[in-house]
Amino acid sequence: MILEELAFLAIAVVAVVTALLALLTRELVHTIIWIALFFVDLSALYFLLQAPFLGVLQLGVYAGAVTILLLFGVMVTRKRIFSREAATGIGPGPIVLAGLTLTFLALGSEELPQNGVVVHAYDPTLLSQTLFNADGPWLLLLGLVMLSALAGAIYLVREGRE
């Protein structure tokens, strides 16, 4: 029991630190490395929460595909890949807003059950039944959205536009 609590704490600290470093570092390539670590860390959390299918999906889609896509974007849009970002000032507004969000969430957390909630392992067959039987239209809709996104992306980058 205590081992899982410690593992969760470690994963949570790594997730917050890597997310912050990804946004605060000045080199875009370092940002990509930190965000890849963040995605791998979250997939470890999914495994800890007994959701192994989502963990594997997170590794494949986020740590694999999205990271490579972002790296590709950085490579294409920069003359020198290790050039630094111009510094952007951080006004008081965003910090106040983020602080207010955290306060709001902290106030709401008192309503939650205070004792631990037990997480059981499940049969992966159940997830596939949920995905393909009851929520079958959702996967079909996802496929349609992906197809139209593909068409839209090709339209955006095609040759001959002003």
């Binding site: 940002t31 595909a65 059950p113 205070q114 997480v119």
Partner: protein, 105 residues
């Protein structure tokens, strides 16, 4: 089988959502903006996974099914976002969102 306190789990996703919001509001680079949005979406997916775990296998795995759909949608969004980045780079020679102000009045 293991036990987790809901407050700690939700505090993590709240913190990640705040970080993503902070990035969306302060960064001017389009790719950093996309990364901030990804962090915020991951915070939301985490919530779905928590509540699916709390409900247990008997309570249905709808939360995990929704998480699968959201992960797919987020990957699609990155692909379209990078197409916009490429178009912006070709049109303006820069991916600073503050310079893409043609539609601003």
């Amino acid at each position: 089988m293991s036990a987790f306190s809901p407050a700690g789990l939700l505090a993590l996703s709240g913190a990640l959502l705040s970080i993503g919001l902070f990035g969306i509001l302060t960064r001017r680079n389009f790719i950093l903006l996309l990364i901030s949005i990804e962090i915020a979406i991951n915070a939301a997916v985490l919530n779905f996974v928590y509540f699916a775990a709390f409900a247990g296998a008997t309570g249905g795995l709808t939360g995990q099914a929704i998480a699968v759909v959201v992960i797919g949608l987020a990957a699609t969004e990155v692909a379209v976002g990078l197409a916009i980045v490429l178009a912006l780079n070709r049109l303006r020679g820069s991916i600073n969102v503050a310079e893409a102000a043609t539609l601003k009045f």
